[in-house]
């Protein structure tokens, strides 16, 4: 990498300023506010507040509903990540083959990434809605009692599918790049060594993709935990009951709907710690597990 040396510190800081400013205004300030808020208890009208120390955190962590949401989030995130990763890997392997129209196929697969979460949710709504959705109606016509607005498990399935679908494109791009980074002679050597396509995939391709896969796993977990608010909000609003209420959705409900700002802030801080933890794991691990 090219290194440039500056005399003095004025110019470097000036050049860094825009980035630092944006980070400060849109991250450090709100994050600091959240941390500050998490130690306060405020009335619903915002007229008075008192310092309560760690009480908000204790309340949150001992709240059965919150724990339920945490467990649900874990299930939801792992399902979304597993589904999005495996689907993307399958599609990338197919797209990596020399097939007619591979270019068009790749472009089409990348498109969903450009679709906003709410719009993606509406798309899925038109497919799975029990009375106006294509598949929803078909299922009911076949005698399957399908209504994700009443059945919590079905609701969970729908938000998992919609969230995973959004993420497949992103994973696909990385997997495809990873696959194309595997030198062809290595695969040919494996073929000559007697490995069939399936064996080649699991003993050569997959291990060589594992750094990519691990990176994507963390990104997907973070995505499922924090970026799926829009999908859930547009499809189920966390319902029916609390069956699709994830932690991030609960932050919203408690803070915006129930106006329990202290608790909401404490939950945000817990999520923040979680995401920082995931990122640390990612960097530690990825740096160590590179093969070349």
């Amino acid at each position: 990498m090219r290194r440039t040396f500056f005399r003095g510190v004025g110019l470097p800081y000036l050049l860094l300023a825009p980035q630092l400013l944006v980070t400060a205004v849109f991250f450090f300030w709100p994050a600091g506010q959240a941390v500050y808020q998490s130690f306060l208890r405020e009335d619903a009208f915002g007229l008075s507040s008192e310092f309560v120390g760690l009480e908000n955190f204790i309340d949150v962590l001992s709240d059965r509903d919150w724990r339920g949401a945490a467990a649900r989030t874990a299930f939801f995130s792992i399902s979304v990540a597993a589904l999005a990763l495996s689907a993307a890997l399958f599609l990338a392997v197919q797209a990596d083959k020399h097939i007619r129209g591979a270019g068009a196929y790749r472009t089409l697969l990348i498109w969903p990434y450009a679709v906003a979460p709410a719009i993606a949710a509406v798309l899925w709504l038109f497919m799975v809605h029990p009375s106006i959705g294509l598949f929803g109606r078909a299922l009911n016509a076949m005698g399957v009692p399908w209504d994700y607005k009443l059945n919590g498990d079905q609701a969970m399935l729908v938000v998992i599918l919609a969230s995973a679908w959004k993420q497949v494109s992103y994973n696909f791009i990385f997997f495809l790049a990873g696959l194309q980074g595997i030198p062809r002679p290595v695969l040919e050597a494996a073929a000559i060594d007697g490995a069939g396509p399936v064996r080649r995939f699991w003993t050569v391709v997959f291990p060589l993709l594992s750094p990519t896969a691990f990176f994507l796993l963390v990104v997907n977990l973070v995505y499922a935990c924090f970026d799926t608010f829009g999908v859930i909000h547009a499809l189920t609003q966390g319902g029916p009951g609390k069956s699709t209420e994830t932690l991030i959705y609960r932050v919203y409900t408690d803070g915006v709907t129930n106006l329990n700002l202290g608790s909401s802030a404490a939950q945000s801080v817990i999520l923040m710690i979680l995401v920082i933890g995931l990122t640390v794991v990612q960097f530690r691990f990825v740096e160590r597990k590179v093969h070349y």
């Binding site: 030198p183 002679p185 290595v186 040919e188 050597a189 494996a190 073929a191 000559i192 060594d193 007697g194 490995a195 069939g196 064996r199 003993t203 050569v204 291990p207 060589l208 594992s210 093969h291 070349y292």
Partner: protein, 361 residues
Amino acid sequence: MATLTLTGVRKSFGTNPVLHGVDLDVRDGEMIVVVGASGCGKSTLLRIVAGLETATAGRVMIGDQDVTALEPADRDVAMVFQNYALYPHMSVFQNMAYGLKIRGLPKPEIIRRVDEAAALLDIGTLLERKPRQLSGGQRQRVAMGRAIVREPKLFLFDEPLSNLDAKLRVQMRAEIRRLQKRLGVTSLFVTHDQVEAMTLGDRLVVMHAGHAAQIATPMEVWERPADTYVAGFIGSPSMNFLAATLEQGGAAARLGNDLVLPFADGPRTGKAGQKLTLGIRPEHLRPQAGGLRVMIELVEPLGAESLLHGRLPDGAEMTVKLAGAVHPDGELEVMPMAEALHVFDGETGKRIEPLDQSTTR
């Protein structure tokens, strides 16, 4: 161990033909070097034998078995790639054991074979390392080891030395030859390097534009090249070519400057005045008054000998190799040694043999 027979092997990529029917018989235990400039189809030929490409037409036989339609895995061949193609995520041991494990060999046998090959290649201390922790030469040995442990019917080498530095290349070249002789495995070695070709091969296949221009022993190729392409390709510096016409009932050739060179090895058939191309290697020219006048443009002293690059009066390039440090400036008159003259057809470029010898090449 086995023979290898190629019959009329053709290959086109789309509408672009790269091999125009190659026939080759490789004897058991023989080392065949396929040599040619880049794009001549030599790698494609090797990949067809390996099964990595499918021939458009023709047949590939290994031993008595027609393998044309078989997958690489079912051909029992081993290949050493130019960039080694080691499995980056496996240790040296795992790299070498991979093919054996797939074939379901018992573990003790795998360990025995890997240890044996590692000892042979002097990489016994590297077995636990990953490929990225190895130098180029060591990787090359591991790639060789991976081929050896398989005990295949056929070794295929795809320019395995071209990524090594000059010194290591010479060393590995000798080592490959020694190993191949010792193991006695039939081998096909592809290279663009004529020195590798000359030193390694029992026989050479000189490829040119999708054809096998000549298949013969290295010395035969050097002494009696089948056409002007082979003549120019093998030998360094390249052979000089002179336009000439047939004279004296086929017993001599007349050059552009009216110099008449009699053939030492006998007359050629053909009409008087037929166009010829005469080939003469730079080392077969001697300074002599009344010969070809060469305007010297550049002298390259190599120590034991000197290379003189220059031009004839008609503008044709000429290279002369003289012993010692002779550096004549300006002009030099040189005479080809009559017995070292190569005669080619001026139109087709094919070698024309003297009448009294067999006409086969």
